[in-house]
Assembly symmetry: C2
Homo-oligomer: 208 residues x 2
């Protein structure tokens, strides 16, 4: 059984994560300071560092919640039987789910990439596990489309498809460079992923 | 005829751009300072601001050179008759040309995006023109694949295809999130773009 002290510690931990999450969601990762978080939590600055090694560790905990949120959105999308059964529809749905998730949480989503760039260090194991789970969702419909493909090839294709959709979403929402206009992103994801699926099937038929 | 003063001014301008370019290429955009550039050019700090409104304007001039370099690489790739004639090969070649260009000049390439994010302002007209030219290179083979498509649709598809390849390249080279391993990027660009082309043709055949 957890002692009273451990319980309080866990409560403060959850409170600090919730505060950091709402601050990142509103003002972005770059604006987050330990002083502000401690002020809102009503605790001493040192109390944060008793629980988290550094601010990166606190942001990492927020990022874990964000990734879990994306996984929950994916699971909801796949609760539809029709989506689950049709690999093409499944892949398009995954792309659109990603797009809608990033649109709803743009600053929380950016924090995942910004922390990685700044920290420039190895990812924690839980995050690698989370990526493997997310890739698994893309691999499943790909395996139906490409029944003969090795697991390694399916993993690579899943990463490529994710990266392609991510490119359309991230350039589009940031309106950077040769971006797709925001109002067209969903239609373009649908077209690109559907054409890719048809192409994979056509290639399979041509070279059995 | 240009006066002696104008000539010297233009020489210093070119020298400052060359110094900034080599510094960004080596150390990245974030490390660039006016002090270092002036020191290397052997001029006063104020001389930079006589020529460029601010450091962003100097970086914009460097970015113009980088974009012109990409366009030259694309033109070289299309000097091959076989590439020019085969739309699928043309699109794959464009994707690989982009990948190789970014691989060869990663920090100069990042500067284009970083300046945009930091400045958060409207793009200058020459840069919009440059984007239109680059999109034109992607539209040409797409028009052969989709003869009935409107120019607006071809423009959107070109932006989507570029964004997709950019996503694979940028996540892959940065080794971020569910990235494609660097050694596999070229093969994955080839597969994704080819499957997309086959899909576009298959869709066209199915729905004439």
């Amino acid at each position: 059984m957890a002692s009273k002290t451990e319980e309080r510690r866990e409560q403060l931990r959850q409170k600090l994560i919730a505060i950091a999450e709402s601050r990142i969601a509103n003002d972005g990762y770059a604006a987050l300071t330990a002083r502000d978080v401690a002020g809102e939590a009503g605790c001493a600055l040192g109390a944060i560092y008793n629980i988290f090694k550094d601010m990166d560790a606190l942001v990492t905990a927020v990022n874990a919640r964000t990734l879990a949120g994306l996984e929950a959105a994916v699971a909801r999308a796949f609760s539809d039987e029709g989506v689950r059964r049709d690999p093409k529809r499944g892949l398009v749905t995954l792309g659109l789910t990603y797009f809608h998730f990033v649109t709803a949480h743009p600053k929380l989503w950016s924090a995942i990439f910004e922390l990685g760039f700044r920290a420039g260090k190895e990812l924690p194991q839980w995050q690698i596990d989370e990526h493997v789970r997310l890739i698994g969702h893309i691999v499943k419909p790909l395996r139906v489309l490409l029944p003969g493909a090795s697991e390694q090839r399916l993993d690579l294709l899943a990463r490529s498809l994710f990266s392609a959709v991510h490119g359309i979403v991230s350039l589009g929402l940031a309106r950077r460079f040769m971006a797709v206009p925001p109002a067209e992103i969903a239609a373009q994801i649908t077209f690109i992923v559907e054409a890719f699926c048809d192409g994979v099937v056509a290639r399979g038929a041509r070279r059995p």
